[in-house]
Symmetry: C2
Subunit: 247 residues, 2 copies
DNA sequence: GAGTGGTCTAGACCACTCC
DNA sequence: GAGTGGTCTAGACCACTCA
């Protein structure tokens, strides 16, 4: 079953093999977001390795935000539907000028089907003309509109997504995607530029047309580095800023 | 010397105590950037703990980019004067539209002394009116100006810094700071906004006045979370973008 | 008190680098 | 071949959670 540690020319340490076995369990849905995975000793005996080896595998996955360890309780599959708002809005980097944490509110505006254009097809890795779902929404902080964004999703996977569903759901967008469609976002890339506000966006955000806005383009990935979301947001950075930590 | 693992109410595991001992060695200059620290076995016997405990301490420090492990050779103090450009320009997130790696070139414009104003004093944690050094410089990619920035440094520490020194130095700015003044940047926070180009910046960047620019404000920290640099950059994002990975 | 993750140890062996 | 970091094991004990 398991590769001998040093037998192969494409050498991969045992704990990485264990890691990818656990990953398989996550991908296949054997352990769902929010649930606990088996204990370290249980996994060790199941895979026929020592507890320390399982531990190292889990350590890495916890560092990648795939798993969450809770001492005395167990190890859990990370979820966007968590009590902790830092996990819930993991990907939102926008902070108010004062620095205090503000509750953000999502206001879905539209949701419709379309066919993938050149760019959407390329970034989402689907065929040109394949069905996609597009969402337009507004993000408000303290009742003030701060972000307007469009979200592009591969249509096959998200067939049941409607404006009503979006309006009803309490919690983060990724929480919805996860619990309703079983798709877990685990990683994203953002490309930031400064752009001038077009008329429509300016009106929605309550700024003058042509005023500078922060353009944030995001591609999100699920297991296996598969892209499953492409979005473009325009951020009004008068009273808020995009915070990034560098290490 | 070392705290018994479980004796104190302010419990701190052994490997964290080892970690802070190694950190002391870095802060005090016992081991300098680019040099190797003693081997794990050596440190283990010196601190009277097992190799595994030292290993865990070093693991964390390597994850924080304070140390670099090199199998078969040893563990080295991370440096901004490294062959690897990913370490050299660790904090620069700007990428050209094509995505290909471009050589960036720094063009120092001015360097003068001043007294800290309200904002500089607060962010750098120094007294109002304390001496500071200000640098203005241009960053070029493929000979095109893309970034104009001003850098504020607490003056005491960087007394010998002049325009000539900046012009002569080959390598990254943090490399210079590190080798010439012994100050290691280990962490930074960036605040991003979209702003309109003022006349002067527009001219230098070769864009129209009023066109949108990405404002990047950075505070850099050295050991002990002490702020030692405040800079504000204006990025022209016509042919480049700011790339950020989210996990 | 049973079960979980968290820490620490001691020892064996492998992979890599350099002489 | 000597020395370094990298992997793996087995076992002990601690801290935390929950019933």
């Amino acid at each position: 079953m398991l590769q001998e540690a040093h037998a192969s020319p494409t050498f991969s340490p045992l704990y990485r093999q264990i890691k990818s076995l656990i990953l398989q369990g996550l991908e296949s849905g054997e352990w769902r977001p929010g649930e606990s995975i088996p204990s370290e000793t249980e996994l060790a005996s199941r895979f026929g390795v020592s507890q320390g080896t399982v531990r190292k595998a889990i350590d890495e996955m916890a560092a990648e935000n795939l798993l969450v360890r809770r001492q005395g309780k167990g190890t859990y599959v990370a979820s966007h539907n968590d009590d902790d708002p830092r996990l819930m809005f993991r990907f939102l980097r926008l902070v108010s000028e004062g620095g205090k944490l503000e509750a953000s509110q999502s206001v879905p505006l539209e949701c419709w089907r379309a066919k993938a254009g050149q760019e959407a097809a390329r970034t989402l890795g689907i065929k040109l003309g394949a069905p996609i779902t597009i969402i337009r929404r507004l993000l408000k902080f303290s009742a003030k509109p701060v972000v307007i964004e469009e979200i592009y999703l591969p249509g096959e996977t998200f067939a049941g997504l409607t404006l009503e569903v979006l309006q009803e759901y309490q919690g983060s967008f990724y929480g919805l995607i996860e619990s309703r469609f079983g798709v877990r976002m685990i990683r994203a890339e953002e490309r930031l530029r400064a752009v001038a506000a077009d008329r429509g966006s300016a009106t929605l955000l309550g700024v003058a047309a042509g005023s500078p806005l922060l353009s944030v383009e995001r591609v999100s990935f699920t297991y296996g580095d598969k892209p499953v979301e492409w979005r473009r947001g325009l951020y009004s950075t008068a009273d808020h800023y995009y915070l990034n930590e560098l290490f």
